[in-house]
Symmetry: C2
Subunit: 133 residues, 2 copies
Amino acid sequence: MNIAQHLSTHDIKPSYQRIKIYEYLYEKMNHPTVDVIYKNLVGEIPTLSKSTVYNTLKLFIDKGITSTLTIEDNEVRYDAAIDSHGHFKCTSCGAIFDIKYDFKDVAMNKLKGFEVKETQVHVKGKCNQCLTK
Amino acid sequence: MNIAQHLSTHDIKPSYQRIKIYEYLYEKMNHPTVDVIYKNLVGEIPTLSKSTVYNTLKLFIDKGITSTLTIEDNEVRYDAAIDSHGHFKCTSCGAIFDIKYDFKDVAMNKLKGFEVKETQVHVKGKCNQCLTK
DNA sequence: TCTAAATTTGTAATCATTACAAAAATAAAT
DNA sequence: ATTTATTTTTGTAATGATTACAAATTTAGA
Ligand SMILES: [Mn+2]
Ligand SMILES: [Mn+2]
Ligand SMILES: [Zn+2]
Ligand SMILES: [Zn+2]
């Protein structure tokens, strides 16, 4: 995947910071917070500002190449995956896993005549690894 | 429903503030924020403090008679309904509707061996009423 | 009544996010 | 190449919800 190309295609000028931020999201796929992104890139981009991270992510969302999840109520997380999928967060190790779900059985009875734009599914508990040790 | 009784049963001393706050949650069933609860009760309880609202809701959650939803990333909402159910928020009028969903089709494929403690389903869009006018 | 414990309250601290204007970088025009 | 305009980045201040904490008040017990 050519990241500069991908940004351009979506009407985003591929500046150095934007490329690095998207690259981080896309390659790690770790649902990071702004702070995590910042801390991981400031070594390579010493002049980086948190404002830039916020600005850039807002732009990515506007242009539709990034999504957000609010699985904890005090921090927004970001995801380069934009297809509809849910998330599981292990309360023990903190890892976040993607989960697939079938929307057909989710809420369809009550939502007749409603226009659905966005769905989030958040599950919390303990992951496989944490349970077996 | 006798609210004082209900609180006592769940190991919560039924003070005046606690009764009024639970009464608000239970009778309105409107998924309010702390601020909404405070503004609606301060007329009747002029000395009420927002701290009390926060403290009381935390206690209710600890004791298991209230649940939270984070359908917007900048505000927590509270719900006297504690059974597992999802929520639909109309982005036009702001109303929040309860929705039922079937967990059997939600994520079961990927979650083998995981221990699920809590699930949240959040849907956004436009409600029936807002669409037809 | 006197004393101890629980509850409520007000205020300050925290922390993620937003607002905003200056600085730096990039592109366009001359 | 130099100037000018536009875009992007940056730093700092403002905002707003939540938490921390200690004083004041209320409630319960001796
Ligand atoms: Mn994801
Ligand atoms: Mn509800
Ligand atoms: Zn784990
Ligand atoms: Zn509506």
